[in-house]
């Protein structure tokens, strides 16, 4: 996922720096906690459980070192959730990433958001408090429930990206966002920058596009408008810009391939540096596109892309 224009260039540099950091320090672990809340009706129960199980499968298949905790059915209680998050808080390191995904129904009374679970519901404040105890510096909370927009103020914190299926607590109808969030992690098309991984931003973009298309094709007024916040304060947004989106763009949610392994070969450091240089050159060109002569842009872009392809060929050998 890229920004357009200058912001994209800056972000690119941020992402590349992150890649280098990972290369030096080795690969951090990811802790995934997926919760399918109370369905209330058999149809919802089945749908929420199936979505949670699909995610469980996807995360485990993508990375056999990942720590995946999935709570469904009778297990989806506040005490189980607390226990699970306590375990993560105990085991996770600061460099590890933490992902919490909530699927189900939510409610908002104008003041407080609650995630519906078997037994007592859990409030957004309680969820935030549990997440705060987890040492991971990079956290992602995805609340796909109805009224989930009402949870954002409580969940916001620097270093934590928060995604909600609804723009506020007043969008109270059952959502379809979860369906497309799961689909984003199953569909390679979600990897729009072809980096062999799906970032939180790519998954968000995929799910919001598909959710909008769902309502459009059904000729129904959309009753959910997903938003995110990844600066840790203020109003959530629906698209990148003004600082929002940087964390989510660099937050790898799922790895699809083994590209990172090739990049770890010290013998190819020169090529890697060249690759980075070319990627920056391409970003700069794209930023300048509007102001350039189209033919000149095309010539320069073709040359840079060709050179990059050759460098990549060298890296892949």
């Amino acid at each position: 996922m890229r920004y357009a224009g200058q912001l994209g260039l800056r972000l690119r540099i941020v992402i590349l720096s992150a890649v280098v950091a990972v290369t030096v320090q080795g690969r951090a672990a990811v802790y995934y906690v997926v919760v399918a809340g109370l369905g209330g009706e058999p149809d919802y129960e089945q749908r929420f459980t199936a979505a949670a199980k699909d995610l469980d499968k996807v995360f485990k298949a993508a990375d056999n070192t990942a720590h995946v905790f999935t709570l469904t059915g009778a297990q989806a209680t506040t005490s189980q959730l607390k226990e699970t998050l306590s375990a993560v808080a105990r085991d996770a390191k600061a460099d590890d990433a933490f992902v919490l995904i909530l699927i189900g129904h939510g409610s908002f009374d104008g003041v407080e958001y609650k995630f519906n679970l078997v037994g007592p519901d859990v409030t957004a404040g309680e969820i935030a408090a549990m997440c705060d105890r987890i040492p991971s510096r990079r956290q992602l909370v995805v609340d796909t429930t109805s009224a989930s927009g009402g949870a954002i103020p409580a969940l916001e914190r620097p270093g934590r990206a928060v995604i909600a299926a609804t723009k506020s607590g007043t969008e109270k109808n059952a959502t379809v966002f979860a369906r497309y969030w799961v689909e984003a992690l199953q569909d390679p098309a979600a990897d729009t920058d072809k980096s062999d991984s799906i970032s939180a931003m790519e998954a968000f973009a995929y799910a919001t596009t598909k959710t909008a298309a769902f309502y459009d094709s059904q000729k129904r007024l959309a009753t959910e408008h997903a938003v995110f916040d990844d600066v840790g304060h203020g109003e959530p947004v629906r698209a990148s810009g003004n600082g929002q989106g940087a964390l989510m763009s660099s937050f790898t949610l799922l790895r699809l391939g083994t590209s990172q392994q090739a990049a770890n070969d010290p013998a190819k450091k020169g090529l890697l540096a060249k690759k980075e240089e070319l990627e920056q050159k391409i970003d700069t060109l794209k930023y300048q596109k509007a102001a350039m002569d189209p033919a000149d842009y095309k010539t320069q872009l073709t040359a840079a892309l060709l050179e990059l392809a050759k460098v990549q060929e060298g890296l892949d050998k």
Binding site: T192, K194, S195, K219, L278, L305, L306, A309
Partner: protein, 734 residues
Amino acid sequence: MRRFASSLVLLSMCAAGAVASAAVPADCWSLRKHGHRQEAQACFDGLMRGGDAYARAEGFWGLEEWEQANEQFRLATQPANSKAVYKVRWGMLLHERFNNPQAADLFRETLAKEPSNGEAYLGLAIVSADGFDGKATEYAAKAIELDPKLSGAHELMANLALENDDRDLAIAEADKALALDKDAMDAMAVHAAVELIADRSPDPWFAKIAAINLGYGEAYARVGHQLEMHYRYEDAVTYYRRAVKADPRLWAAHSALGIDLMRMGKEDEPRAELELSYNNGYRDAATVNSLRLLDSYKNFKTFRDETTILKLKKTEADLLQPYMQAELHTIIVTYEKKYRMKLPAPVQLEVYPDHEDFAVRTMGMPGLGALGVTFGEVVAMDSPSARKPGDFNWGATLWHEMSHVYILTATNHRVPRWFTEGLAVHEEGEHSQEWSDRVTPEVLIAIREKKLLPLAALDRGFVYPEYPSQVVVSYFQGGSICDFVKAKWGEEKLLEMVHSYAQSKTTAQVVQQDLGLALEEFDKQYLAWIDKKYGGEAAHFDEWREKLKALVVASQQKQYDKVLAQGPAVLAMYPEYVGDANVYELMAEADRVNGDAKAEAAALTAYEHEGGQDPAVLKRLATLEEGAGRQAEAAATLARLNYIYPVKNEELHRRLGDLLYGKKQYDGAIREYVAVVASSPVDKAGAEFHLAQAYLAAGQKDKAQESVLAALEVAPGYRPAQKMLLELNQSPEK
């Protein structure tokens, strides 16, 4: 276009309602009617200055001070014992000022107080006629029954009859109006229109009108409206022009002229006419919405070639243009051969993704107007994106509308509604059996209840339906009549009928000459044919419905064995039914649960061949076909979806592209991958890369290079694309 002279309608009552004043309203309106404009103005001015609220209302109305007139009518009708005529006249003012709902309320209030008020019934008839409500005739007849001397009711009856193309009745009613009022100019206009429609000179009637009032533009405008109702759009323009020439202040005619010119594909002159009308206070929905539509044209993209002009909304132009232009060309080749003629000019197709925009193009037109509409060589239709997936087949609609283009041209616009609509429906089925007009439940009920109309009266079913589904039933009937002609006499007879209509023959003459039958005998034979074909289904319709309900319940209760056991018998009772909760889908669901993919595919294939159009169901069928290794059938199934819902359907185009690519049908694959790119996909890089692959396979290396660069521009590190770029640039030919 019915508001040309509503202020003059019900004129006779004004005298009765007048009070002592310098003049009575009837005198002022009479002066206006007879062309004494200045004297009329002075007369209305006198009324306006009088002491009686009702007279002041009429005065303000005559002076075109609508708000004040409205206020005075309000005052005049406040006393409990106010005369009934006041409310009727107030209703007519509201009708004239584009407020039919409140006008109808006032007419009904009058009737509640005075049930025998003929003028109120006439008011209701006028309002109903505006919306092509079948009750218009009923109300007008009631008005005449209550007040046989109401010449305006006869004039309205004459107009309604002519809109239904019942020319004899139109003449008879016009004559009745003239017998009651020798200056009934609207009746004379009906006579003039009848003459024009029959290709005779209308001049004697216009001379009579001119003798009464040289500036009575309404007469020409009414003729223009009738010409439009008979598909004579160019001729209508001529008469609207004469209307505004005779009375330059006839804003309704300026608006009608603008709208008619829009229907002919023009933009500048319509804008000028509509703005003139709007700026002078004529702001009915048709005028306002037409101006808005003209403004929105900046958001459209136009594609032109030798035979077609395609106007598409920019947001979906790149996606739809390849499909629609190709289909237009196929249709033109087919119809040129079939009808042995060429169109004199390129045909213009306008496609609206916003149904409200399309609706503007059909305002003031009878019938459903729901899918497409043809004005000579201009076709306007909904985009598939304007409708719920599965509700609409743009391909069938385009074949239908293009049939109108050819038939209107071939007959020089001398064709009854039933025949051009019927032939257009017939052509849909001729192109694809799956597109033939389904015998829907409402049609079966109409057959069972013997509601099909005699051929001589079939136009009425399209224009002034007497029951809610009569338009749908009439389309079916028109189409099946053409099917019947083909089955009994051969397809060639339909072309002969086209040629006969071109000679301005009546339906009775055409049927007698080309089919050798009197109309009554034709009706008899057609009904016998229909009864043989659908009589059984119609007779057992209620039984079928009950059995289908039971099958749905069984399916909901997961009694799939019961569904599979009883389904075939229910299906056999009414196999054409592919609507909600159809047997095909119920059985396919049961087969799916049983894990019988072959049987599920068979059920869905039957659904497809009966014309089932649910995109999700057809995609499921394609998946089953693909799973069974029947790639060609899967591709054919997905290709059908391109006619149903090609928009916002990236997955469809990608799947079809992949199938065609796999079968080395690279041109088709390119078309589909282009559609993926035009669908604003989430995976832009992937879409461009697949397109590049197809171009490369088709030997179009330059285009492959363009597409692969587009992919890499989005995702510079996209390795398959990088490899292709290297391959393309290492190739000796590059």
